[in-house]
Symmetry: C2
Subunit: 344 residues, 2 copies
């Protein structure tokens, strides 16, 4: 039974005779569930979608088991500039990695990382980052990896805000996740990065349990430790690659369901997922976050009239598709009153 | 929010002031939750495990998010003799498959199936069955496949009982799933077969939603149909192979968690999962179902003193490991008062 504490409380304080829909309506009515969203078409479209899919009288009503919502992480739920958080984690591991395996020292892209040349490091492409990732996240048990991620997250800070990365989640999206959850949706993460990285904080930060985090995945190997006990360890090989169309292909492979709502921001791994969500004849909401606020966050990608970014580009092709297919485009500048919880 | 109707009802009829633990205790107290289990060590061990893991005062208490239970399907939740149900589904598709692709006609194992020689068909090994499976479950959209599985399940009947396969689930295991669910456990299926097959009935039959069914998985391909709309189709290639250690390796890959309870019955794909569950220092229950009741179901496998079965063997090596490591061995003959719901 996946019952989160806050949902449980919301349920048991209700009178014994309340029907599910009335209980949900009450949760929603308590306050503005999207307080960090500016009034306008984006907020309206979301509220309209939630009402339509949860009102049994609506032609777009979805039974609870079909309320599947999928969220990209980097650039959609939290900051992805100047580099993906998981990439920073992997880069931080390179010196120790090279010490253990000196043969990597003169090999690109490891040599680039060791050079300390920030500009060159920032230009590593996604395939080079994945090459580093494979080495930096292998050769240890699954438990050791979990502990390493947690230890890093507890101390590493973002250079611009000097805050923990887990503080750099977008408050409007946290509110959206909560609104959906309160209305019977199952929220999932569909990341281009490693599911095993995100799972270390998804429950705490997004209220999404590990089993609902999909992402790229390395092979896991069953074996035995020195004491003879069975262990699972991580191998330097991808089994699931969530880039490009891989994200929606693997979402189906893992969960066997089509999301009815999806949020993304990148042509590199969200475009096909959003296109697929949009191809349903029934109720659906495909939405893309546009990074157009250099003052409060970042502005990047051709869709903003700015040049291509090495990270999370929202290119013109995806922008054209979004307009043609009628996706919801969320402008951070226009639609988000507040970006981070720490803004107060 | 994964809230099943029966749990919801159980919750909202409770007084507004009940704590979660008391509400759960009430559900349990209503009747014997394991009515189809004979009194004895197996039933006692299960009830003891549930009490210990849900009592906050117990040293073996597990917080709800760690209550992860994994169940093999064939031979553990439903009948697997004389052939895996999914294999029967695939064999039934071979004539149409060969008509569409005549080049398969003279190729083994397809030619064996077309020969109609029941004895030879029964001797096909798991790799030959997987070869048939790959062809029989490919080249169509995910929706078409779902519809085909559902249509077949609605009419195909088991030769011995002349009942739908979905009626051949073990009532004691259905009660166990319900008991665990009522006590805050998340039940998962970990099958050697295709997750996409089991997902078509898992919610209805086991109250386990599709996203909690893991299994062998074929590649899914994103593309576009004739009308230009994006589609997902099935490819004749395995991405996840859940045989042998693959079952527990892929369970971790998909969900990032170690089951605390697991039930299986076969040396072919459950042994490593049970061994891994047993390797936890904390609370755990590794259990294996022994098919030793030829009168009411089947008796097979060296562990029963009978010869090797082509399907779901419980061999001597696994039996020795079970005894050495202290797994719970469930004898169908001794521990199950009733096997099927239709026995009345």
């Amino acid at each position: 039974m996946e019952l989160h504490r806050r949902e449980f409380v919301a349920l048991v304080i209700g009178s014994a005779t309340l029907a599910a829909e009335r209980a949900q309506a009450r949760v929603q009515a308590q306050a503005d569930p999207l307080a960090s969203w500016s009034e306008g078409p984006a907020k309206e479209a979301i509220l309209k979608f939630v009402r339509a899919t949860t009102d049994p009288a609506s032609p777009n009503f979805l039974p609870p088991d079909e309320r599947i919502a999928a969220f990209d992480q980097d650039g959609t739920l939290w900051v992805e500039q100047p580099l993906y958080t998981q990439a920073v984690f992997c880069l931080d591991r390179v010196p120790a990695l090279v010490e253990a395996r000196p043969e990597l020292k003169d090999r690109k892209p490891f040599s680039v990382v060791l050079s300390g040349d920030r500009e060159a490091i920032a230009k590593l492409n996604i395939h080079q980052l994945f090459e580093i990732l494979l080495e930096a996240q292998s050769g240890m048990t699954v438990e050791t990896f979990s502990a390493e991620v947690r230890r890093w997250l507890a101390t590493a800070k973002h250079p611009r805000w000097n805050r923990l990365y887990t503080e750099l989640v977008y408050q409007p999206m946290i509110e959206l996740l909560a609104l959906l959850r309160a209305n019977g949706f199952n929220n999932f993460i569909a990341t281009g990065g490693s599911a095993s990285f995100v799972r270390e904080y998804s429950a705490q930060v997004y209220d999404i349990p590990p089993q609902r985090v999909s992402g790229s995945a390395q092979a896991i190997h069953f074996g035995h430790g020195k004491d003879g006990a069975s262990i699972l360890s991580r191998e330097p090989k991808f089994v699931l690659d969530n880039l490009e169309a891989g994200k929606i292909e693997n979402f189906w492979l893992m969960y066997g369901q089509r999301p009815k709502l999806a949020f993304g921001n990148s042509s590199g791994d969200d475009q096909q997922m959003l296109e697929y969500v949009n191809a349903t004849s029934g109720a659906h909401l495909a939405a893309a976050v546009l990074h157009d606020d250099a003052t409060r966050e970042y502005a990047y990608g051709p869709a903003t009239g700015l040049p291509d970014s090495n990270v999370g580009t929202f290119n013109q092709d995806m922008y054209d598709m979004a307009l043609k297919q009628g996706w919801l485009i969320v402008s951070m500048k226009r639609d988000w009153k507040r970006i981070f919880a720490f803004e107060g």
